[in-house]
């Protein structure tokens, strides 16, 4: 009786309770909600950053209903950051592009069918190229689509359509690492494997905030059992600086002087590995002479660090037996970034910290397939990391692709910034933008927006018709997204991984691969791509393009082997062992580099002043960077998830030092106007001593930020210097 009364009065079960009820999945995934029990699970690589985590997508009745982080993949071991956990959500956004959109006479984008879109696309490009030559057309690609699609794009645009200039958004993040590695190692070859995070006894991070930018790499650092010395060199007290053993808060853009001083101190301390230097490097003597006059006192003056701190940093590096050096955008996005990256490489070379477990001069890449773009996008380098200027390289590619060598130009054409300047000068009249959002992400984005009117034809190919760039387009081509197509990504540690189709694309959206097939057919160059029938067929062509190269992957036996081994790191030449993965490999364990003489190079140059130093009118340095791990770049995808939106401030905010705020009478809950020579933006005030007095920080995910930044690039890598420009502050 009591039970009946209790049952009537207190309802312990029922349909609402059942909504969240869990039961064992039976797929090795533990307890999962009954309503989302998977029938099968598909493992694929995440489509955000370059960590390259594997995600297990839960499939039920042919639909992707959920996902978990793969427990068995060597990269992430069951973990993912919030972007990965929410990777399916952006696919279902209501603003997906579902049909091609063409701008009509009234200036409005209106739906059209694919046939009309293709006739307009090929007609416009062919007409402009016929009128002005291939130099009047350009494309801007991406590091967000798989290798097979990047290769199709690079071949189609350059060899099929005859577009002279092409570059990718990887110019914005990785160009510096590419240039630095090429000169120092003879090939664009990040040498490390993630296992190095776990076995170093000293880890040095330059301009790198993996806690936020690459949380799953930070996971590997936290698994290091050696209680390692973690040294962070960064003008901001970032999350990573907070977790480090020592943080060296140097002045913005004084890093090159610090690096040369550290090199000098290490040499003076006797920390140089003379045997290694003699056997495997070139240029050390000259480098030693160059850095000899970099002393701690002058360095302290330039960097704002104390002499003690500078000597302490050198001492800690000297003491380490397995020292790894890591850098990210704080180095890559500077006005002398290539030389800075090369100075990091020099520290690893001179201490012999390379080629052994737990060592290396290691660039952490940005986008999920930036590494694939570096090898196969056919933009700044010819397929397979080759050189356009080298006739033998051109002949090689022509032979493998069975095309006329005359179709391959003898130079890569313009870099990103030069393409934009050529548009401004009226030389480039047609632009094709694929899976990137320059109207938000390019420095001085206001200037970029003004270029729109100089273009006769702007095509944007994207999964959303609502990005800042798509809204400017004459023609929008609706693209299938990650998860709606297949192909391969290459992650930061050179690991090739698979993406698969686990969801249907909305409307008539097509994978970029299929869009390129269509364009090839409509422009009449499809004969050139007769063998490019599927992503896996193209992967085989890419394998041939790597034969005998440092990135040789001719030993991979199809997608199925990539799947079964848990990804495969390059190189993997013909004859590589067929055993089961996972395995980890690093480069240069034999001390042989990819230069002609097998020796690594020291490369240096005297530091230059910041292009836009502060002055009385603009007395603050503006730093920009990633704000939270819940936002990806221009927030086009991550902004579609309710969960991710909860995890970051909804409005632009500005980190200001409390002393500066007090002086300027900017209150802690107030708003501040940040003004540069380009534009101004209003932001919520966040008072924190994590920025130095005289500097402020704006997260890059908000559209306003890049309206303020300075149009300036590193002269070697042509990568934009996002990190520092002069601004003024006033209460708003």
């Amino acid at each position: 009786m009591k039970e009946i009364v209790e049952h009537i009065l207190r309802q312990r079960g029922g349909k609402l309770t059942d909504l969240l009820a869990q039961e064992p999945s039976g797929l090795g995934l533990g307890m999962l909600p009954r309503s989302r029990q998977p029938e099968i699970v598909e493992q694929m690589i995440c489509g955000f950053c370059s960590t390259g985590c594997a995600l297990d997508v839960h499939m039920r009745e042919g639909r992707a209903v959920n996902l978990t982080a793969s427990a068995t993949y060597p990269v992430n071991a069951g973990m993912a950051c919030p972007k990965g956990w929410e990777a399916l959500t952006p696919l279902a956004a209501p603003d997906r592009a579902t049909v091609p959109l063409l701008r009509n006479e009234n200036g409005r984008l209106e739906p059209c069918d694919w046939e009309r879109a293709m006739i307009v696309f090929t007609g416009k490009f062919q007409e402009i190229i016929a009128r002005h030559g291939g130099g009047a057309a350009a494309w801007l690609g991406t590091g967000q689509i798989p290798c097979e699609e990047l290769a199709y794009l690079g071949a189609l645009a350059r060899f099929g359509l005859g577009i002279r200039h092409g570059d990718g958004n990887t110019r914005q993040c990785m160009a510096t690492a590419v240039s630095a590695y090429k000169e120092c190692f003879g090939f664009d070859a990040p040498p490390y494997t993630y296992g190095d995070f776990e076995v170093s006894d000293v880890l040095v991070f330059f301009g790198s905030n993996p806690c936020i930018a690459h949380p799953i790499m930070w996971q590997r650092v936290m698994r290091n059992p050696n209680r390692p010395d973690i040294l962070v060199i960064d003008p901001r007290h970032t999350e990573t600086a907070a977790a480090a053993t020592r943080h060296y808060a140097l002045r913005p853009k004084s890093d090159l002087i610090l690096l040369y001083t550290i090199a000098n101190l290490l040499i003076r301390m006797g920390a140089a590995d003379n045997d290694f230097l003699a056997a495997h490097t070139a240029g050390f003597e000259e480098f030693r002479n160059f850095v000899a006059h970099y002393d701690p006192v002058a360095c302290a003056d330039a960097t704002g660090l104390s002499c003690d701190a500078i000597e302490d940093l050198a001492m800690r590096i000297a003491r380490g037996r397995r020292v790894s050096f890591w850098w990210t955008m704080g180095v890559n996005q500077g006005h002398q970034s290539t030389r800075t990256a090369q100075a990091v490489i020099a520290l690893a070379l001179l201490t012999g910290n390379i080629g052994r477990p737990g060592t290396g001069a290691n660039s952490i890449t940005g986008q999920c397939n930036a590494m694939g773009s570096r090898l196969f996008s056919n933009t700044s380098s010819l397929f397979g990391g080759r050189n356009f200027a080298d006739p033998a390289d051109r002949a090689d590619v022509a032979r493998i692709l069975r095309i006329d060598p005359g179709l391959i130009p003898d130079s890569p054409g313009h870099a990103y910034d030069q393409i934009l300047e050529a548009i401004e000068a009226g030389e480039i009249k047609a632009l094709w933008v694929i899976a990137t959002n320059p109207a938000h992400s390019w420095i001085d984005s206001g200037r970029l927006a003004r270029l729109r009117d100089k273009l006769e034809f702007l095509v944007v190919q994207d999964m959303y018709a609502t990005t800042e760039t798509a809204r400017l387009a004459d023609l929008v081509l609706p693209a299938a997204a990650w998860g709606e197509k297949e192909g391969t990504f290459i992650n930061s540690e050179r690991r090739i991984g698979l993406i698969k189709q686990i969801s249907r694309a909305p409307g008539e959206a097509l994978s970029d691969f299929r869009i390129f097939q269509l364009i090839a057919a409509y422009s009449g160059c499809d004969a050139m791509f007769a063998g490019w029938t599927s992503p896996e067929a193209v992967f085989q062509i890419l394998q041939k393009l790597t034969a005998g190269r440092p990135c040789d992957i001719t030993g991979i036996r199809g997608y199925s082997q990539i799947e079964s081994r848990g990804g495969i790191q390059w190189p993997f030449p013909e004859g590589s062992p067929d055993g089961p993965g996972p395995e980890e490999r690093r480069l240069f364990s034999d001390g042989r580099f990819f230069t002609a003489d097998g020796r690594a190079r020291f490369v240096w140059e005297s530091p230059r002043k910041m292009p836009e130093p502060t002055d009385a009118e603009f007395p603050f340095i503006l730093l920009t960077g990633r704000g939270t791990s819940a936002q990806w770049h221009t927030n086009t995808r991550t902004g579609k998830s309710d969960v991710l939106r909860k995890l970051h401030p909804s409005r632009l905010y500005c980190e200001i030092h409390p002393d500066d705020a007090r002086r300027l009478r900017i209150g802690p809950g107030g708003r501040v106007r940040v003004t540069s020579r380009r534009d101004s933006a209003v932001a919520d005030v966040l008072l924190t001593a994590s920025v130095q007095p005289g500097t402020v920080f704006l997260p890059m995910h908000f559209e306003e930020t890049n309206r303020l930044t300075l149009w300036h690039v590193d002269p070697v890598s042509r990568q934009p210097a996002y990190k520092a420009c002069a601004v003024a502050l006033q209460p708003a």
Binding site: Q11, L19, Q22, W85, C211, R504, V643, L647
Partner: protein, 497 residues
């Protein structure tokens, strides 16, 4: 047929082919294969205690702050692994900012339900939809018992229960009790890349001692209110002066319009009934109608009003339950008092009216106690009692033909409300809840506040003028006041971002 049309015919088929190709999910089928248990996630079973809690002990979250770097994977993983609604999250990550110029400190803090020793949610629930599991100490919510009154959301100092509009109920973290029951770790524990979250066993007595000594987190609710059990640890203790990243940026709160009308209608109804004491039949009728409209609005507030008949269950601890019982008792009395003078001319009709007014006052006191009992500083003591009884008294004076006391009361009430908005104007070091509420009143709510003051003083003039629309104007003013009561009712909360 020209060659161009041949190409286009061919291409037309190509487009169709590619679109149909794109729509098939063949690639998945190509790769499909079942997972086997051998691939099971070993992380499942880590970071949880090997034994069950003993007598006087319970499970608790333990957070190693030195390992939390703010990646927020715990929030997203909890959402996915528990199958929550699109916008629903049970875990949150905030930031505390402290330290000095030389040694700045930014500490991210992950938090979910603290499975308190004395849960505020449980205490406030009118239908006993919460229970504290005797064996594990997990505070569980019975989803099918919930009527969607949201009082637990107000009662919890940590804003843990989340109301779902589509379901009409609240839901909250249950520490993945069904995972723990089979020896698996909770979702957040499984998903933390740096193993910052684990499950531990705490003694209730120790949790109570810690709470009474104020050991919890800076810029967070006083732990002595509900005795939270989550254990935050760090080798580098956080200064008490550390502040939440959003300390100076309070958010405008949900307005709860049905409650706004319910409160003002019931209070003006009880007040107007006072006219019947003076023998005015029309006042009695109006008061009764207002009161009943108020009760109708209270039902609109509930996510599942049909289940509300169980609301008496929580009377032992819940002021909401008591209020519902009180209103349930007052309603027939009001109807009786209002109807009686129209049916018979009995002298004791006045006594019935007096009884109805007194009982009504009692119910209004219960209403005020509901908000007082949340512990929110902006609703404590006279800030609720004064408002609610003030509204009742103003209408009582008006209905009894006492314009001057009515106007005086209204003026005093408006002045005190206005004073709340100037609090903490000069402080930029640390704000209390009232200061934070004042920031809202001066900032995003200043239009509302201005409207309230204008409507209020217009009401004062009309009352003095004994205008026939005086009551309506005063009523509008009180509605605005009550909307501000909720909008500026800043909660206690965990550090935000």
């Amino acid at each position: 047929m020209t060659w161009i049309s041949v190409i286009f015919t061919v291409s037309k088929t190509l487009i169709d082919d590619l679109i149909s190709d794109q729509r098939s999910l063949r690639p998945v089928e190509r790769f499909s294969r079942a997972f086997d248990e051998g691939r099971a996630r070993t992380v499942f079973r880590e970071l949880i205690p090997l034994s069950k809690p003993a007598e006087g002990e319970q499970y608790a979250f333990a957070v190693d702050l030195d390992r939390c770097t703010g990646c927020k994977a715990c929030v997203a993983a909890c959402h996915s692994l528990n199958g929550l609604d699109e916008e629903e999250t049970w875990r949150e990550v905030g930031t505390l900012i402290g330290g000095t110029s030389l040694h700045p400190r930014m500490q991210t803090v992950t938090s979910a339900c603290h499975h308190c020793v004395e849960p505020g949610c449980l205490e406030g629930c009118p239908v006993l939809a919460y229970e504290k599991d005797a064996a594990t100490g997990i505070v569980r919510h019975l989803d099918d018992q919930c009527i969607g009154c949201s009082y637990c959301v107000l009662k919890c100092p940590y804003e843990v229960p989340k109301y779902s509009k589509s379901l009409g109920i609240v839901r909250k973290c249950d520490m993945c009790h069904s995972r723990l029951a089979v020896g698996e770790s909770p979702a957040c524990v499984q998903a933390c890349p740096t193993s910052a979250i684990s499950i531990t066993i705490v003694k209730s007595g120790e949790a109570r001692r810690n709470a009474e000594n104020g050991i919890f987190l800076p810029d967070s609710p006083d732990p002595s209110i509900t005795i939270p059990t989550t254990v935050y640890s760090s080798r580098r203790p956080l200064s008490d002066r550390a502040l939440s990243a959003d300390h100076f940026r309070p958010a405008v709160q949900h307005t709860h319009w049905p409650l706004v009308f319910m409160l003002v209608l019931t209070q003006s109804g009880v007040g107007t009934m006072a006219g019947a004491v003076a023998g005015d039949r029309w006042s009695g009728l109006a008061g009764c109608i207002l009161f009943l409209c108020g009760l109708f609005c209270s039902a609109l507030h509930l996510g599942r009003p049909l289940k509300a008949w169980r609301a008496f269950l929580g009377w032992k601890t819940s002021w909401l339950s008591r209020e519902i019982l009180a209103f349930g008792g007052v309603a027939p009395l009001m109807v009786f008092a209002a109807g009686l003078p129209w049916v018979v001319a009995a002298t004791w009709a006045v006594d019935v009216a007096i009884a109805a007014v007194l009982a009504g006052f009692g119910a209004v006191v219960c209403s005020a106690w509901i908000y007082h009992d949340t512990g929110r500083a902006v609703w404590r003591g006279w800030l609720s009692f004064g408002r609610f009884l003030g509204t009742t008294a103003i209408f009582a004076c008006m209905a009894s033909g006492q314009p001057v006391p009515a106007a005086a009361l209204l003026v005093a009430k408006i002045m005190l409300e206005g004073l709340l908005s100037v609090r903490g104007m000069l402080s930029s070091v640390r704000l209390d809840e009232l200061d934070r509420s004042a920031i809202l009143l001066r900032g995003p709510l200043r239009g509302w506040l201005a409207a309230r003051i204008v409507a209020g003083f217009l009401g004062v003039l009309m009352v003095i003028d004994q205008s026939p629309v005086a009551a309506a104007i005063v009523f509008c003013g009180e509605i605005l006041e009550r909307a501000l009561f909720f909008k500026a009712g800043v909660p206690k909360r965990m550090p935000g971002h």
